[in-house]
Symmetry: C2
Subunit: 508 residues, 2 copies
């Protein structure tokens, strides 16, 4: 072996010091999306969803949403809080949603496009717990929140933060969101999710992102800069805080990911067709509501249908049913020309082979299905209850590899290499040929985490598993973290706003 180690590779950028990474880059998916439903099946599910909305209806617990839905022509039973929708009205409203939109970041180079052939990877959002190999599993807290955000910032393959990777339970609940927003807006130059439970947390996020981007609230109307998840409470219920959050986001022109979180067997029937029909009804309901609030408001078709283990009631993720549910969801989203969100999920309690194979199942299913927004893309463990530091690194590797699978294969005279093959001839090797030497630095994917050394070398160096190596890697990334540039005036503006709001909340 005569090739010397490569100190620097052209296509890499060394964010976070010595850990090799691919650069931040927009991704488009070149593959025709996989289908598990025939066109007729898609239409049957569509029609069933419209019948669910017309005949069964959705229970809506928010008063403002009931008012808006009634005013838009839905049938509203205020006593039962039940909303039924004429199929033609649903179709008309859904058709008004944009097929594609751009979400604006503090650094315009980190803007992301949602829809069409674009593919965006988000980090984990929402866990109550955090874990790593050294400290084990513990409640989410402010110190870990900040560290985890730093890692999301420096991992180039993660396009977008996803609403708080873990809950900082040691901060006061009334003002927690303000600290989270300040951290997100100052630590990251990427787009980030705001919270969606109620109008207040949305309003505060709008103020923070306007300061961070140094734009007016009015301009935010035309430049969506925030995104949030609106979950239905399946089956067929939209609660008060979620409906208020949806209304506040749509009214401000910000992006809503309308996501029924359903586990077949518990929150939907056990059959995949019924699970997708019900998910579709709930998603369309939320999409329609965004368009009632503000025609043309950016909205994403969220899908998160998995199943429970019928022997124990435990939720399962990354299963065959999960994969087929995701692919079917993508077909439904494209039926309505809406951007589609899926997830990287596993039920494993530990960062092991199961966590990796379930995540790969989820990621491949989503990407083959043509996903636009891969939420929970990196860090999710234990059915979403825990944000794991080591899983974040494993997932970053999985996402980087997938991003390279999407890159085109060059086929031309130079790449076909006939001269090199003739020059080396039978029984030779290509290490030293000119064709190799001109290209070897950038020819192949270079991993973050994978260890390709032979058994003896690997064993002599401590016989570490991928999870143990991931532990070393996130610590190194954190030690070498440097935040992206931020104008002092911007930082001050955000700090002043947060301080003022905390005083207001304390005095209220």
């Amino acid at each position: 072996m005569t090739v010397e180690p490569v100190a620097h590779r052209r296509r890499e950028r060394r964010a976070g010091g010595g850990i090799p990474q691919l650069p931040f880059r927009q991704l488009t998916n070149p593959f025709t999306p996989l289908e598990v439903l025939s066109t007729d099946h898609v239409e049957e599910i569509h029609r069933t969803s419209l019948r669910i909305l017309a005949e069964v209806g959705i229970e809506v617990l928010g008063g403002r949403a009931l008012d808006l839905l009634a005013a838009a022509g839905a049938s509203v039973d205020r006593t039962a809080r039940r909303v039924r929708f004429d199929p033609a009205l649903v179709e008309e409203l859904v058709a008004g949603a944009p097929a594609e939109f751009t979400l604006h970041a503090r650094n315009p180079e980190r803007n992301v496009v949602l829809g069409g052939r674009s593919l965006v990877f988000s980090s984990v959002g929402g866990p109550a717990f955090v874990s790593d190999l050294d400290r084990g599993r513990r409640a989410g807290n402010w110190a870990d929140f900040q560290d985890y955000i730093r890692l999301i910032g420096c991992l180039n393959v993660i396009h977008q933060e996803a609403g708080g990777p873990l809950e900082p339970t040691d901060l006061p609940v009334e003002t927690r969101h303000l600290d989270m927003y300040a951290c997100l807006a100052t630590t990251l130059d990427k787009t980030w999710h705001c919270l969606g439970f109620g109008a207040t947390v949305v309003e505060d996020a709008l103020e923070v992102v306007a300061i961070a981007r140094d734009v007016s609230r009015e301009r935010l109307l035309d430049e969506p800069s925030l995104i949030t998840i609106i979950n239905t409470n399946s089956p067929l219920r939209l609660d008060g805080p979620m409906s208020d959050g949806l209304i506040a986001m749509a009214a401000a022109g910000q992006a809503v990911v309308a996501t029924p979180f359903t586990l077949a067997g518990a929150m939907t029937p056990v059959t995949l067709a019924a699970a997708i029909a019900q998910q579709n009804a709930e998603a369309l309901f939320c999409v329609a509501l965004t368009q009632i609030v503000r025609p043309g408001a950016p909205v994403v078709y969220g899908a998160f249908t998995s199943n429970v283990d019928m022997r124990t009631g435990s939720p399962a993720f990354g299963t065959p049913e999960y994969v087929k549910g995701a692919i079917a969801s993508g077909q439904m989203a494209r039926r309505y020309r809406l951007p589609w969100r899926s997830s990287n999920a596993t039920a494993s309690a530990v960062v092991d082979a199961q966590a990796a194979y379930e995540s790969e199942m989820a990621v491949w299913g989503a990407v083959m299905g043509g996903v636009n927004l891969l939420y929970q893309g990196a860090g999710w463990l234990e059915g979403g209850l825990t944000a794991s530091y080591e899983k974040l690194i494993v997932d970053a590797e999985i996402l980087q590899m997938m991003s390279e699978v999407l890159q085109p294969v060059a086929v031309d005279e130079a790449s076909l290499g006939l001269d090199a093959i003739a020059e080396v001839g039978p029984g030779g090797h290509f290490f030293g040929s000119a064709h190799t030497l001109e290209r070897y630095e950038t020819a192949f994917y270079r991993p973050i985490l994978s260890d390709w050394r032979n058994f003896e070398t690997w064993a002599e160096d401590g016989a570490q598993t991928a999870t143990e190596r991931a532990n070393r890697i996130w610590k190194q990334l954190l030690a070498e973290f440097e935040p992206p540039p931020l104008e002092p005036a911007t930082a001050e503006g955000i700090a002043e706003f947060v301080a003022r709001r905390k005083r207001e909340i304390a005095g209220s």
Copy 2:
């Protein structure tokens, strides 16, 4: 949670006692194969391959092969042992190979179809080492060989054995193959690979399989029952034992998997287009030779192109380049209407998250690319140097999940479940509904290995990783193993043949 544990599920068969498994079943791939090459690119690679065969040629070290090639019209330089092929002759010979064929097992229910939309999963073949969590890594040996074959036998998702999961290095090298064949033919009722290095090991396999299937040697000509891998020594060399083995197999109407094992950067140029062009040239050469020996002989387009790490020279598997190389290979195989073989591979030295994510990359790439024969499907570790007991179980889970992804989604009035959704209504749950109770036993995939319990339950039960659970599972399978039925006369016939051949070899 009101649903009781399910003691038996209709679609499961309890091979090997208490471990739940899907039944042995033929698989067809419903998805349109993924493409990374345009039609023009496929033709450019094809033309480059023909130029390699015409202008550079293949070095052939076997005398019989040189004779046959010369007689068939190839240009043979006997001094340099270099064979050059007219493009039209290559195309004509390759066109004579069958697009699809059946490989016959001792139990006709275990026959497999190679080609078309069929998908066959093979076990690991060829490692020098064997490992498990208890005994670590050690040289392949006879006791482990027999145990590993038992596990391959009882794992229903494995359709086919693949040529010895590990080398029994403690058996005499001259007669080792006879003990291996006797073990394969009596322990398994599935199809198995024979060795391919030379005519003798092929001839002995033919005798054993004829006794095992109780058919004449003549009938084997029309009912291929053996398969072997013929590797080129890339670049562009076919050695003596391999060419003799190829000739013996093709002459007997048995299946050859013509597989250049190439690592881009070492055995081919670093560019994927060149690697595929060279692989294609070598594969076509072997395919053509099978058709010279016996027109219509069954042959599979083998592809095993990965790359080395250019910083260290280590081989890498399950990488983005590996995935794209596999998908491109499938396109080339379909260009010639040949069955296509790919692999499940990882470079990891240990059964960890890396082993799982690299294997998933390889399996998804192969299946999305429309693979017919997934060789090394279960058990491969450490770049193929080691057969791992725990990896065998991890891979069985990966393959089972993939086999379920390929099953169709039912969409009809019953599965759409509108009545059940209306009956449960907003805010309810589906555990107790009639729609659920009628279907819950078979609604969802039931894993072999995955643990979906919550963190607390999992931790109280020993906090085992998937690899540690896999260790328990293979031991249970082995403890409960029962071989498939075998006529005593068949067992005696095989034993007598082996004893006679051992005497002959000792006397020679």
